[in-house]
Symmetry: C2
Subunit: 749 residues, 2 copies
């Protein structure tokens, strides 16, 4: 949890007022405060217990049934049939023996505390089962039973009881209302998922899913593609162990090379960030699909799940910031997994395209450009070498069209792909072909030779391929897709992952240090002068301000500034000054100042007769010509989030804004700015000079450090506008609101 | 061809100076001028010949070979093996007999003129073969041979020769450099495409493709999905018959219910528009995939194809305007075809979602919102009815989550889908499920009963479905996809098609009439006063202007207007007045006017000493607060295209513009405005009053009528800015450039 790293005591945020959803969106916090730090080191006890749970030497099935087709019969069936090597302890007072194994009447009777207990009893009996297990020394339970938080408030109270019991006994809990998990490496089938009914080959992918049904579907799709899931984990209601915590354990298994997650919402942003950081350290891609991108989706999510509907734009920003690959749906996720598990990482974003159809080449070039891949013009030497081997009616540009001639001359295909990959600006290639039903053997042979000879990755796109072609290529370690755009998108995911890894190795992800700080203010809006002073101190350039308590003082201030000024009403009761007519711009001359002073007070008295007025802020007019809005808000999931956007109508109509989680570096601020559609405006358009982007990035980074250091108090900050120009940015108006985070005794879910 | 309908004589545009590509982008025009009019009536002779070609009573294969695996052997093989019912005439002097048929030494020896001749001889022999065929009374030829325009200028000249020979003999020509075609209804295999090697079931889809290789892949994918292609036509180099012309013939076959096209470029925009109009009349959806959306794609297209790279934004606008469904790639096209061929058309855009997984429901709701489908909140009576049949832990909202319970209670699935479809705001449903390997029989039975009982369309999304499930559902007339977002996108295509058909039936597509008109001006920029007068006459509101040839006259004009004015230099040599400092705004008072007059002339003399200056335009300042840009440009493919966009930085950075082909109605203008991202600005933001959108739409429509009526002369028109406010729009600056279209004797390709 983010705030735990910023304030002295672990704490839970108060509910965010703007948030919707059945459950209040506070951050859960274990009663035993976790030690902050990287995923590998944190919550060491829990981590070890969970690791043991996922790789148990013994499994108890509490509520086991002789009916192997039932929810409570299936784990035993799979453990037995698929050859789990550890001890299996069925627990059910109704049986003396089950599946040829002795059956125990209760957990207390077990010969040893099991590393894992699957609890498959009716909801009402779960608390007793858990206590029994805890008393017997059990440390980890997977609770299948439904009838908890998913039913509403009453069920949620029951669910909290489960968590409390688990903590009382120092146990960890997966579920309730979950399908459990599979560890295919050790043949652990603590699940009743349909996925377990078919073959469940182990493999390099660790998959953790919040949805049981959708997760099962995704697992089955992974199987259909011949990829292997080393782990399948369904987190269910997450009464105790969360998605991020379970995934953090899965990724430490050296046999897991790619982490894949399906999310509907998250509560512990800090854990997700720690997970992402750890994946980056381990050099394992983390691919996440999260639903709930739109208002319709959020409405559906609210009615479906007890999880907090994370604000999607923030999730998306955090994913980018910490090197997570986001998939928009299950098909894209599968494509990414296939590429990441089967292909090397390219050293740059240059895509070489080679086809037997000019049109397919055009389509792939289109898609490449749309998603940010380069389709470089080839070196003259590359094109010349291609021309030597290909027919005259082909095309030796990029896309390369070698035509169908390679059927007659298989060497042509091999040579041209190798020549293309040799081009210094090409980092990965997509090779497109179609049908060729009569030539599968030849083609598999050619591609396997290319695979051996090429030093750079390539993807085969074989449209309407004959049956078996994909499987045969896979056996040679070659990734194949059946559609051009998908191949290009997979190549893009590989290049994005390459960029993430290179940035990590270059230390780009390093976050600026910050010291938690206590501001000497109570909750509420800060007076403008204090806010400006604090920000200036933090290294955020602000337009100077003076407070005038009379027209005379206002005139004196104007004289001191020696140039046109703005006058703005100052009141702790008025945050949005323009709404009450509390701002007048570009005033010059004593009369103008006096008149404006009077008008502002009068306007304020009319609009808000109750407001306490401290006077009028006098501020010289600023010079920057690009109007930006910069803000910080405390998100209940991710903590302090910094926003930057274009001001004015653009903000209102286009919502052209970008977010980052505090703190972040100036380099990250630059990436943030690149996400704005109006980014070119900063370079100067229509004869305007360019904005000093370095200074702007520095300002954003310093603001983020400050926000992180006062995260325990800062509730909201709004710099609107910030005027930016060749001399850098200057914050003009600012609103800073403090609201200290207090620990809540009863944590809402 | 558009201009043929606007000017007295058929004509070809001169090359557009901004255009790139190997071939100059002029419009081709048959030497025999076609009669303009709807597709059904135009070029009657050619249409009949092409219809006969596609459904021939006799087929000659010129250059036929006994080697059935070769390009020139395959047509005969397929015609024989697949049971073509007409007469087959192999032609080759080398054989006396081929495949059991008498073989003729040349076309002259044939017992009758064949309805269709396939020409499969080396490129150099094609002209002679064509002549022979023509002399023998043949009327239609499909030329497989490559070695023409795709090789460059020399080949292109050869290609023009083929076209000339065809026209000399009144023949039509498909190709050269094409795979030919299949008419699966009558078992006509005039092709050597790999697609013909497998089963080629006939069906409701007519598919015409410019690409042979990619088209073959798409055809094979259609087959993989169990859909049937009634026609497969590859147009090749289109020396004579174009994509639009061939497709116009295909769609007239009553067995064709859905038209599908793959495009890389087009030359005859008017023919495409006529095709789209005719499809709308026939009530047959036209689905087009066109590559070349981006700069990379355009570069690739230029190197790949002799076709003109159509400006994609214009193609896209024309597609929307005339009711074409555009697919972004082959997978989306297949999805659309599957839905359009297999599903009824929904009466509105309300999507009901029903799942066994809340998460999948959220994902589909997300996608639905992103692509403009409504996911309506259900009527209370609908939700109540659903609650009666479903488990308590399900969700009776939309998306509906009936949970996996329907496996135990099949009736639950049937009843809940029917209840959902009964909701008045639901027009189409997607039913999502996964795996259920053991329940295929039950599910097929349930869905087939729903299909019989439901009055509205629905799509099944079955993720990781057991083998055969799709095929079995298809046999019951049920459309099934394997991924949720694809099902939603297919539903969106159906609702879009429904909207197109409803708009057509309501007469929304009706275009305003216009009379071709000859402007009494030579080529070049029009004087401002004349341009303004013409536009005013056409019903385009313009800010008044006066021309002042002296400072005195400028002052008099200012007095007459009685309010602040702008002064702008007037010179036929200066189109972009601001570039030379030739505009001064907001002038009020005699001194200011005189001073400005002098400054403008001086600035102009400095910047452009060579320019002829007619004086200064005096124009009162306009009031509208929203700055728009409206323009017309002559596109070499589509003729007069009208553009509207937001002015200023937005235009420059966001390219937030929309296009329509002239002429169009005010209703169409409204749809055009809806495409602007900045559209909300017109409704008034930040306290600004709304713009009178009705007047703006009227202005756009009238401008389009005028542009159509003077299309033979109008080269470019630029209204920048147009200021719009509550009193409607006013054109402030205008540039009108005329360039008369002249007929070119030697048409470039």
């Amino acid at each position: 949890m983010q705030n735990a790293t910023m304030t002295a005591s672990p704490s839970a945020n108060s509910a965010h007022p703007g948030e919707t959803g059945r459950h209040s969106p506070a951050v859960t916090q274990p009663a035993t405060p976790p030690a902050p730090g990287p995923a590998s080191g944190r919550q060491t006890g829990r981590h070890d217990i969970l690791a043991r749970m996922l790789r148990p030497r013994s499994v108890a099935v509490i509520g086991a049934s002789a009916q192997f087709s039932k929810v409570n019969g299936r784990p035993l069936k799979h453990l037995l049939e698929k050859g789990y090597g550890g001890k299996i302890y069925p627990v059910n007072p109704k049986y003396a023996e089950l599946g040829g194994l002795p059956c125990y009447p209760d957990a207390a009777s077990l010969p040893e505390p099991p590393d894992l207990a699957v609890i498959a009893v009716p909801a009402k009996d779960v608390p007793a089962s858990l206590r029994e297990l805890g008393a017997a020394g059990g440390r980890a339970a997977v609770v299948f039973s439904s009838g908890f938080g998913e039913l509403g408030e009453v069920g949620l109270a029951q669910e909290h009881r489960l968590r409390d019991i688990a903590r009382e006994y120092g146990m960890v809990l997966c579920g309730p209302n979950c399908l459990g998990f599979i560890n295919a490496h050790e043949n652990v089938y603590a699940t009743f998922s349909q996925y377990a009914d078919g073959p469940t080959h182990s493999g390099p992918i660790g998959f953790v899913t919040q949805s049981g049904a959708f997760g099962t579907a995704i697992a089955a799709l992974v199987r259909e593609r011949g990829l292997g899931l080393g782990y399948f984990v369904n987190t269910g209601n997450e009464a105790d162990a969360s998605f991020s915590e379970l995934m953090s354990v899965v990724i430490e298994d050296p046999r897991v090379r790619v982490a894949a997650g399906y999310l509907e919402g998250i509560r512990d942003g800090e854990a997700l960030v720690a997970l992402a950081r750890r994946c980056r350290e381990l050099g394992k891609p983390l691919v996440l699909a999260k639903v709930g991108r739109t208002a319709s989706g959020a409405r559906a999510a609210a009615s479906h799940t007890g999880s907090l509907a994370v604000e999607d734009a923030l999730f998306d920003a955090v994913a980018r910031q910490y090197g997570v690959l986001r998939a928009r749906n299950e098909e894209q996720m599968l494509d990414m997994l296939q590429a990441l598990a089967g292909c090397g990482t390219p050293a740059g974003n240059g895509l070489g395209i080679i086809t037997q159809s000019g049109g397919a080449g055009v389509m792939m070039a289109d898609r490449a450009e749309e998603i940010g891949l380069a389709v470089p013009v080839l070196q003259p030497s590359t094109s010349a070498a291609l021309q030597k081997v290909m027919p005259a009616y082909g095309s030796s540009g990029n896309p390369v069209d070698i035509t169908g001639q390679f059927v007659a001359e298989p060497e042509l295909l091999r040579e041209s792909v190798l020549i293309l990959l040799d081009d210094p600006n090409v980092h990965i290639a997509v090779v497109w072909l179609q049908l060729m039903t009569a030539h599968v053997d030849t083609l598999v042979e050619i591609f396997s030779r290319i695979r051996k000879q090429a030093s750079k990755p390539f993807i085969v796109c074989w449209v309407a391929a004959p049956p078996g072609a994909a499987e045969r290529l896979r056996q040679h370690g070659i990734v194949m897709f059946g559609a051009g755009e998908r191949a290009v998108e997979a190549a893009a995911a590989l290049t994005r992952y390459g960029a993430i890894q290179r940035a990590h190795q270059a230390g780009d992800g390093a976050e600026p240090a910050f010291q938690p700080m206590r501001l000497p203010y109570g909750d509420g809006p800060l007076p403008t002068l204090d806010a400006v002073a604090l920000l200036e101190q933090a290294g955020v350039p602000m337009a100077p301000v003076e407070l005038a308590a009379s027209a005379d003082q206002a005139v004196q201030a104007w004289r001191r500034f020696g140039r046109p000024v703005a006058l703005k009403i100052e009141s702790p009761d008025i945050l949005h000054k323009t709404d009450v007519g509390g701002v007048m711009l570009n005033l010059d001359g004593e009369d103008a100042i006096r008149e404006a002073y009077g008008e502002l007070l009068a306007a304020c008295a009319r609009a808000r007769p109750d407001a306490a007025v401290a006077g009028v802020i006098v501020q010289p007019m600023s010079a920057g010509h690009v109007e930006l809005v910069i803000g910080v808000k405390r998100d209940p999931v991710f903590g302090a989030m910094v926003m930057v956007g274009c001001g004015g109508i653009l903000l209102e109509v286009l919502r052209d804004v970008a977010f980052r989680r505090a703190p972040f570096s100036a380099k990250e601020a630059r990436a943030m700015l690149e996400e704005l559609r109006m980014r070119p405006v900063l370079d100067g358009v229509r004869g305007r000079p360019p904005v000093d982007v370095d200074q702007l990035c520095g300002m954003l980074s310093r603001l983020s450090q400050w926000a992180a250091s006062v995260a325990g108090q800062l509730y909201e900050l709004d710099l609107n506008p910030v005027l930016a120009g060749p001399d850098g940015p200057v914050g003009v108006d600012c609103v800073v609101v403090l609201r200290t985070i207090t620990q809540q005794l009863q944590e809402p879910r």
